[in-house]
């Protein structure tokens, strides 16, 4: 197995605020890894170090055994943003957004060629949004909206997919669809890193789980990481309310 994401001893400060504290994490290619932790535990910062948006104060980050900057240029990392970070009234269609995944492969004017159109068609089919291709992105359900951005990552040809809270505001059925989709992508060799608050769904979704509290408290099998004692380390309370039984 090859290592897709390698974060080694990474520390990040925003001014005086410590966001990541000697975090170390390795994810192998073809795995779905669930990232759990409280708000402010450094999940978003970890994503930003992997995309190269934030440069660590110390430590190293390798993506597909390259620097994040290089991986960025080759379009290796796809990013699915949190819903609240997206302007859903923006006048773009589903197809327009998925096409932006191809920009790294296009020329100066980002003129779409046949291969680009085909990649977009394929991606839309994979996420079952073909019939919605010409809809404005705001006119979709919560789950469909998420799939648009997954399709963008597929069209991009990303081998690593980062998803920030993909299940917030998504109904159970769409959640199952997205979970299945991520599983298929991982089986085809992609690496999927998902931050989520939805602890119940984690064992179905992920091969492994990471408990983050500015540093990596635990990394292992989801069932093991979700033991109440372990969660108490990260959240300071029994989040699953299983203690009473």
């Amino acid at each position: 197995m090859t290592t897709a994401i390698s974060v080694h001893d990474v520390t990040v400060h925003y001014g005086d605020v410590l966001a990541l504290d000697h975090a170390t994490l390795e994810v192998q290619a073809g795995r779905v890894c669930g990232l759990i932790g409280m708000n402010g535990s450094g999940k978003s910062t970890l994503f930003k170090t992997i995309t190269g948006l934030v440069r660590p104060d110390s430590g190293t980050v390798r993506v597909n055994d390259e620097s994040p900057g290089r991986a960025r240029k080759s379009g290796a990392v796809g990013y699915v943003p949190q819903s609240e970070d997206v302007d859903w009234a923006f006048p773009l269609s589903v197809r327009d957004v998925v096409m932006t995944g191809r920009y790294g492969h296009m020329g100066f004017m980002r003129h779409a060629r046949r291969t680009d159109h085909e990649a977009v068609d394929d991606a839309l089919e994979r996420v079952e949004l073909t019939e919605y291709a010409n809809r404005q992105i705001g006119q979709l359900s919560g789950g469909q909206k998420k799939r648009v951005f997954v399709a963008r990552g597929i069209a991009q040809g990303a081998t690593i997919l980062l998803l920030d809270e993909p299940f917030a505001g998504v109904d159970k059925r769409s959640e199952a669809t997205i979970t299945r989709l991520l599983r298929e992508l991982a089986d085809a060799g992609a690496t999927v890193l998902v931050s989520t608050h939805d602890l119940h769904a984690l064992p179905d979704l992920a091969d492994e789980a990471v408990l983050l509290m500015r540093r990596v408290l635990m990394h292992g099998d989801p069932d093991e990481v979700l033991q109440p004692d372990n969660l108490a380390l990260a959240f300071g309370l029994d989040v699953l309310n299983r203690g009473e039984n």
């Binding site: 379009g75 990013y79 932006t100 920009y103 004017m109």
Partner: protein, 291 residues
């Protein structure tokens, strides 16, 4: 007077031909840029930069440099100062914008007051369409063409920057450069448009056409056509009205844009006030009759 005479008579004057050409170019370039400004949420930034270029233009006039150079320098200076005040004090961004651009604008006014040849420079503030010289027009054509060409060739990158800068970064584009390019083009556009309507009203041409088009379509590509078309039509209507009614030309152009926005705001089929009310009433009736 028949319709043909109505349109041709003013054009028998050279100054009206130059005025029409200047307004058309300015209104089209401003309208294209405005599509991004209203979507990024940079309307206030447009206001700030278009005012803050004033001292730059006056200084350029004094030392005999091109207006565009002074404008771009002060445009970026304004943005840098706004960012500095916002990030290094507890003052919020809207206040930072208000402080920086009014101060720079005031500096421009003071510079004008101490510079000989005041008549020329006061036209920068209110615009002087009817006094546009051939040299002015050539400058407007060159700057307008450069700005327009960059905006159109890199339109997809700018749109991605406006929509999702994080993704732009993730696929190897440079969002910082794209943002800076838009701000630079904003300063250039301000120079183009201040000939037509003056520094004070430039911001109208930088916001109204994009906002109007945004109420008419859900496709960015169409916004880029609709906004300049509306803006150009308003330029012609405003200019002819000012000719026949003997009113301020820059003011008339902006009034025409404001009037069109009001109509679209009320009557746009999908996003207009009345259209959305009618649709929700219909939906309610359909629901009621279904029960």
């Amino acid at each position: 007077m028949n319709l043909i005479d109505f349109f041709l008579e003013p054009l028998s004057y050279d100054f009206m031909v130059r005025a029409l050409a200047t307004t058309l170019i300015a209104s089209i370039v401003c309208a294209v840029l405005s599509c991004w400004l209203v979507l990024i949420g940079w309307s206030l930034m447009g206001d700030a930069v278009s005012h803050a270029v004033l001292p730059g233009v006056v200084l350029a006039y004094i030392v005999g440099a091109p207006f565009a150079l002074g404008a771009v320098v002060f445009g970026f200076l304004a943005v840098a100062l706004i960012g500095a005040v916002r990030d290094t004090s507890r003052v919020k961004e809207d206040a930072a914008i208000g402080i920086v651009f009014t101060t720079l604008f005031a500096l421009g006014l003071v510079l004008i007051s101490v510079t000989p040849s005041q008549t020329d420079l006061n036209h920068i503030i209110f615009g002087n369409l009817l006094g546009v010289s051939w040299a002015d027009l050539i400058q407007v054509i060159i700057l307008g063409a450069i700005t327009f060409a960059i905006l159109v060739t890199k339109r997809r990158d700018f749109t991605l920057y406006a929509f999702d800068p994080t993704h732009a970064h993730a696929i190897g584009l440079n969002p910082k450069i794209l943002g800076a390019a838009l701000l630079g083009l904003l300063a250039l556009t301000a120079v183009v448009a201040l000939q037509a309507v003056g520094v004070i009203l430039v911001v109208a041409m930088l916001i109204i056409p994009g906002a109007t088009a945004y109420l008419l379509t859900d496709r960015f590509g169409r916004m880029l056509v609709v906004a300049p078309a509306i803006s150009a039509a308003c330029a012609v209507i405003g200019l002819y009205l000012s000719y026949y009614l003997d009113t301020a030309s820059g003011g008339m152009v902006v009034l025409a844009q404001g009037a069109v926005f009001a109509l679209v705001y009320l009557f746009s089929p999908r996003h207009g006030l009345i259209g959305t009310r009618v649709m929700s009433t219909r939906r309610r009736r359909a629901l009621a009759s279904a029960q």
